[in-house]
Amino acid sequence: MTRSNIATLLMAGLYLAIIAAYPTDLYAAGLNTDVALTPPEGGTIIRVQSRYLELSDDPTPMGREASVLVHPVTIVHGLTSDFTVLGTVPLVYQDVEFASGTEVDEFGVGDVTLLAKYRFYQDDQPGITTRWAAIGGLEAPTYDEPFSSESVDPIIGTVWTHQRRDWWLDWDVLYKFNTGGGLDSDDELRGDVALSYRLLGGESGAIGPWGLYAIGEINAKYITDGSTQLFGSPGLQFITPRWILEAGVQLPIHQHMKSPRLETDFVFVFSLRFQF
């Protein structure tokens, strides 16, 4: 395949199929699932994540296989104890290999997500909390081809968390209205469930309370062109009062992607959260 062919594909938006496979995971406050917990009034959390994806099974004659490394950087700020704003900027590097042997490396900045989260329900008991929040915002274009949808895409959703000392459960549902053209005209519905269980824990004089948690998630996605994805996502979290180190993998349980979208082979996730 020649460069001019690739340029034609770019014009047709087919490259976008590569990053369109994972955008809503990027601003999840947990590993892949959101949480209804929010920083305190005036509190700020920075999260730096690395997500490495491999995609294949190209239904088009291009025979694309892609390796993608995304670094979503998220800043969360608590305006009040129940109202939070957050922004995510994904730095993306992708390597696309075509059946013809052509390989194209690209680096860029994906669309910026700006969200507000309002916690409308909270029930606190000793060692237990249940919280429910509404999410709304948009994905703003950076116009950095091929990583930007070049459209403003509204996002709405809700997230629920039930947390106990030894385990907690989160679920979220998010809907993104894609207003762009081509592949970015299809809306996206995402639902996630995460269960965390404390394997080890203690209270150290040096770092305070800490815990090592096993996390298991189910991540489901439906795109209005008929594409569906279901992932099982095991992981580990090490949590201290100031920072959280977490790592996990997303493995496909079921995938049915409409052409020209690629299927995801796996996703490695590594994340560091720090609050100040």
Partner: protein, 285 residues
Amino acid sequence: MLCKLPTILLLLTLMTAPALAGEKRVTVHVKGLACPFCTYNLEKRIKTLDGVPDKPNWRASVEKGTASFDWKADVPFDEDAVREQIRKAGFTPGKMEVADADSRAKEQAYQGKAHLIEVSNDQDKKQTVIALQVGAGENRRTLTLRPAERADRQESYATLKARLKDAATNDSVLVTVYGLPADKPKGDIILHRWSPQRFGAEVILNVDELACERCSTGVMRTVREVKGVLHVESDHDEDRVHIWTQSHEPDTAPLRKAIEDAGFKVTHVHVKSVKDEDANKHKAK
């Protein structure tokens, strides 16, 4: 013989925190505190208070759902401000205790006799609760013992529970207790040998926000004045006041009024017959 004398060594260790003379030590129970990452939210907000020194000896415990910190000697303690900051951190404030910061360092162990009040099951927490009465007169207090998270306490609790397996209510046990103020008498304490059999009923009142020992003492003093009341114990950890009455069918209205006159709200009243319960326990033995 009903009264056996199991010898028990019970160690209740305490964490101590260095503090400047005159400073207060504040312990707050925080509802909803369930993960380590959340504790920093609380620390950040609490440290904005004027009364909190630069190095407040901050301690947060997810296990206990508490946070404790020092309070400057020259700043009046402001409970409302502390509660406000807990809310701003995204949590719900619970009970609050304020003590001299250096009082914990003065707490010492004593060994003495105690009376077994009861061994009961806490259905909610699925654990066995052992209630002991130690001390006499003004020094008398009730110890409610539960399995603790710390390994050293668990062992002591397990030993105590095993030793009390065949003990009856009102049996004497010998305990070594860490955590009583140094000015309390040491050595064997002569206990007031009260017998449950002479009580007609036990009235258990749930009291909203019975937050500190001083509050408990005030309530007990008021309730003792009510006619027909023989004995009063309070448990500010559980927000409960236990009243033993002469009558088998006590009128709970004056008891409720006495507590409410002391400035506390009674949320629930439960009356149980001591005689029947005690008879059943002995029958079972």
